[in-house]
Structure formats: C-alpha cells, structure tokens
C-alpha cells in the first residue's frame, strides 16, 4: 500500500493521541490523560457526524440530540443502579446498570432510533430547511430534558462512581482512556470501510448529484436515512462515554451549542476527511487548555481560527497540510 501524505498524517495523529497520554501516565499527570480522553471521545462524536456531513452532505445541527441521548442513557441506567431503584419491573425486574457494554448498547440503540425518526422527518427537506429542522428537534429534546424533573431537570444527573468495564479499573484514567481510544480506532476503521463500500459510493454520489443516483435506480432518501442513523448511533455512543468521563449528564449535552461544537471539530479538521474529527477535536482541546488558561474568552481565538479555515483552507487542517483529497480508486 502506498502511503499518501494524508495517511501519514493520519497515522501520526492517531499515534500522538496514544503517546501523549502514555507519556503523561509515566510522568504521573492524570489531568493530561483526562484531556486526551476527552479529545478521543469528542473525536468519536465527530466521526459520527462526519458520516452524515462529510460523506452524505447532510448539514445536521441536531447531533447534540444523539450525543445527549447517549449521555442520558448512561445517566439514567447508572442512577437507577446506584440507587437500587427499579427502572421497570415488567416483564422482568431491571434496576439499571453500571456496566459500560450494556450502557453503550442502550445508548446506540436509542440514539439510532431517534436518528431514524428525526431523519425520516427532516430528510424530506434539504438545504437550509434541513438544518433548521434538525436544530429544532435538538432543541425540543433539550427543553424536554430541562423539564424532566425525574432525572434532574436543569441540574442534570450526577453519578458517584464511574461505570464498570469487565476486567478493567475504569477509575484509573489511563484505563478509561484506553477504552475510549480503542472505540475511536474501531469507529475510524468502520468509517473508512464505509466510505469505500458500495453504500459509501452511492451515498457520496447522492451528495454530488442526486439526479445521477436516481437515474441509476438508487433512492437518495433511503441512502441518507441509513447514513443518518449510523451517524447518530456513533455520536450517541460518544455521548455515553462523555457522560461517563464527567460522571455527569445535563441538558447542556443536548443544547445546540453542543451540535455546533461537534460540527466545529469536523470543520476544523476537514469535512469529509476520515481523520478530520480527530484533528479537530484534538486542536479544540489543546486550544481550550492553552488559551483557556490565558482568558475565559478563549473561544474568540477559536472563532478567528475557524474563520481562517473556512475562508482559506476548505479542507480544514488536514487539507491544509496534506493537500487536496485524492479520489480513491
């Protein structure tokens, strides 16, 4: 296999995301490990969005909905488990769970279902209407969570102890990082296979020319809805991990700021670039850490950077470094 500049860059990034926390671990700097974990999780959310946005051309401003559903899946299951409070008693007694694999499964299933419903309704529109409808669905869930007093309403839900993963001590930062990192890598492998698959070819063609796709007998709506569901499920999984990282979930995870942030990771790194969200999320965390120490208004700098990238480097960071995307053959 020939290594292009972009794939070299990708390898370098994914290696750096592993080496930095390992170095921090050996130097006993748990805070840096937590930052790297956050970057990996946010990158995962971006990988999810990038399937809809980059591959499918679906500008969703509602991905916070899936991120938040994942977060609440964790919060609700874990809250019931820690309080020994049955979530439901029929058809069997279920007192929630503090097991990550089950929480992830619930997060993925529910965010996929939400994406199916939201997608089925909003994909009947396109362009700016699609953006507004996804935004509206996201905000609907946000206000629902605020008023849902059973699960903390505006204050959110706190979990005392991080959930468990068989055979690992998830309270150890480096072990929890490993979980997030492995999931991110798996998602990247999946996204890369997807982009080259028959489905990916048809989906990206529908973004480029809808008439062409219809004329060869494929239905853009079905392709896009499938992409939206996959995209929502991955972002939902990231939401569950993010809530577990913070041991806290609140309506903020569902707010449109969150949707905007996930989109910023994708745009910073490069829309449609496989590793774009990794670059974007890492840069975002880095800026937040470095500039946040200087000023509370660090996002002004982020805004300027975003502006520069949109104006001068449409391919994002990866595009600026690795050049124009090669049509993969």
């Amino acid at each position: 296999m020939m290594l292009t500049r972009e794939s070299l860059l990708n390898w370098a990034m994914i290696a750096a995301l592993l080496i930095v926390p390992l170095a921090a671990w050996s130097l006993d700097e748990p805070f840096i490990i937590t930052l790297a974990t956050k970057a990996a999780i946010l990158a995962l959310a971006g990988v999810g969005l990038n399937i809809a946005l980059g591959l499918g051309g679906l500008i969703s401003l509602g991905h916070a909905a899936f991120f938040g559903i994942g977060g609440y899946a964790m919060g609700i299951l874990a809250a019931h488990a820690q309080n020994y409070d049955p979530l439901f008693e029929w058809p069997f007694l279920f007192e929630g769970s503090n097991q990550m694999p089950l929480i992830w499964l619930v997060a993925v299933v529910f965010s996929a279902l939400a994406a199916l419903v939201i997608g089925a309704l909003s994909l009947r529109t396109s362009g700016v209407y699609f953006i507004m409808i996804t935004l509206a669905f996201g905000q609907m869930l946000y206000y629902f969570a605020i008023s849902w007093s059973a699960y903390g309403g505006e204050d959110g839900l706190s979990i005392w102890v991080r959930n468990e993963f068989p055979g690992l001590n998830t309270l150890d930062p480096i072990q929890f990082f490993t979980i997030a990192y492995v999931i991110l890598c798996l998602a990247l492998v999946f996204a890369s296979r997807l982009a080259r698959s028959p489905f990916g070819l048809a989906l990206a063609a529908a973004r480029q020319n809808e008439d062409r796709v219809q004329a060869v007998g494929l239905t853009p709506f079905t392709l896009r809805l499938t992409a939206f569901v996959i995209s929502g499920a991955i972002t939902g999984l990231a939401g569950a991990l993010f809530a577990d990282l913070n041991r806290f979930v609140s309506p903020t995870m569902l707010s449109w700021h969150t949707s905007g942030e996930i989109m910023i990771f994708v745009i910073l790194g490069g829309v449609g670039r496989l590793y774009g969200p990794v670059a974007g999320a890492a840069l975002y965390i880095l800026l937040e850490h470095l500039l946040g120490g200087i000023s509370d208004y660090w996002q002004i700098f982020l805004g300027v950077l975003l502006l520069l990238i949109v104006l001068f480097a449409r391919g994002g960071l990866i595009g600026a470094i690795a050049g124009r995307e090669k049509a993969h053959g």
Partner: protein
C-alpha cells in the same frame, strides 16, 4: 414480451397558462431509434421528464414494457430498465471516471446496502464498468477525476453510465450537444449499433445525426406532435417544413 417498449398516451402538462405538452402519444419499438425533434421551447424537456418520472403529467399515461408507470418515480422506472442520459451532464464530479461507471453498475445490480466490502474491488461491478467504458472509448481516462474531463468526454461518460445499467431502453437527451464534428460522428456510429441492444428515444438538435440514425422521427411543436414518420416522410411533410425546418433555414 411487449412489442412496444415505451408508450405514452395523451400526455398533457401545463405550467400555468403555458401548455408544455398537448395530448402527446408516441411509442418506441424494439430495435429502433425514435428521434424526437422540435424547435427550442417545443416542450421536449418537459416530455422527457414525464417519461423519466421527474414530472407527473396532468393527464395521460406512460407505459414501460407494457406496464403503466405513470405513478412510479424515476428510481422505479430506472430499475425497470430505463437508461437515461441527461442534456446537461449529471455525474458525480469528484469521482473518477471509473467510480462513476461503478456507481452505474451498482445501480444496475441493486443491493447498495453493503457497508464493509470495498466497492472498487468488486469484480462483478468492475467488469460491467470497464466494459461500458471500453465501449465508449474512455478506458484510458478511467482514473481521471470526472471534473477534469472535457465536455465531450463527459458526454461519453453519460452514455457509459447508462450502458452499465444494461437497460431495456435508452432515453437520451441531446447526447451530441457540444460535441465536435468528429465526436458527433463517432457517437452516431456507436448509437447506430446500440439500437440492436435496446431501442433509443433520442432527443437531438444535430439534424445530420437524426436523419442518419432515426428509424422514425416525431416532430414536436408547441407541445404537440405534428408528425411522426421516417426521415423521408418528415423531410417531405409540408407542415414540418413550415414549423421547423423552414425556421432553421431562415436562421
């Protein structure tokens, strides 16, 4: 097996006060090239869209392979075997030439919901795609980005993508548009042989090509078919000369 591949019966379509199609009835038989000609604004594109499924007629029906498809959309008609080329090239411009052809082959085969296999290593799809590219003479350009192709090459690729579908009939909207004399001639020769594979409903402005190729010609003026017949019939038809060819001579 239906003896008529495509049949429209009494198609009418209006946009406000403008009647773009008036009671249009035409058919396409196996093995023929049926050319549809008419001056600009005669309603050719509107008619094509109703046949392909982009527009629903106000009244009348479209039959494909003996089945009424008036209520079916473009995707369903494409799956039934309608291979279409567009007046303005509709291709995935970021893709390579080969990827566009593979997309067509994928559509022709169906079942696009595979998420793990590498589509560009699918032997069945590649064979179909290369075969189509070879037939239109684009193999040398297979790995070029479609956006970098010349206008004429894009026209060729349009035809190649339609070929990958292995359609039962072709609906070609001005395939010669913008081709040079040589390109036009080459495509004329190609279409000449293609009619044996599947009949072609050909909308075309290039009169040399039309008169050289068409088994039958229908003339559309103000949304209405004023004559249908062989090239000689059409040349001799006084109404056609007045409405169409005369206008062309004057221009």
């Amino acid at each position: 097996m239906a003896d008529v591949v495509l049949k429209t019966k009494g198609l009418s379509k209006s946009f406000g006060a403008l009647q773009a199609s008036r009671d249009v009835s035409l058919d396409l038989r196996p093995g023929e090239i049926h050319a549809l000609i008419g001056p600009n604004g005669a309603g050719k594109s509107t008619l094509i869209k109703q046949i392909a499924g982009n527009l629903t007629p106000d009244s009348g029906t479209v039959e494909l392979l003996g089945r009424d498809v008036t209520a079916l959309d473009t995707v369903a008609r494409a799956r039934m075997g309608l291979g279409r080329t567009f007046q303005i090239s509709a291709l995935a411009m970021e893709y390579t030439v080969l990827q566009n052809a593979v997309l067509g082959a994928l559509g022709g085969r169906g079942r696009p919901f595979h998420f793990f296999r590498n589509v560009m290593k699918d032997a069945e799809l590649l064979e179909r795609a290369w075969d189509a590219l070879e037939r239109v003479g684009l193999t040398e350009d297979a790995n070029r980005r479609t956006a970098d192709l010349s206008h004429g090459q894009r026209r060729q690729l349009e035809v190649a993508v339609a070929l990958t579908l292995k359609p039962r009939l072709f609906l070609m909207d001005e395939p010669m548009a913008g081709l040079g004399t040589a390109g036009s001639k080459a495509l004329t020769g190609f279409l000449d042989g293609l009619r044996q594979e599947a009949p072609i409903l050909l909308v075309e402005h290039d009169m040399d090509a039309v008169f050289a190729l068409a088994d039958r010609i229908s003339v559309l003026v103000y949304g209405q078919i004023i004559a249908t017949g062989t090239a000689d019939d059409i040349r001799a038809n006084a109404e056609v000369r007045r409405a169409y060819l005369g206008e062309e001579d004057a221009a």
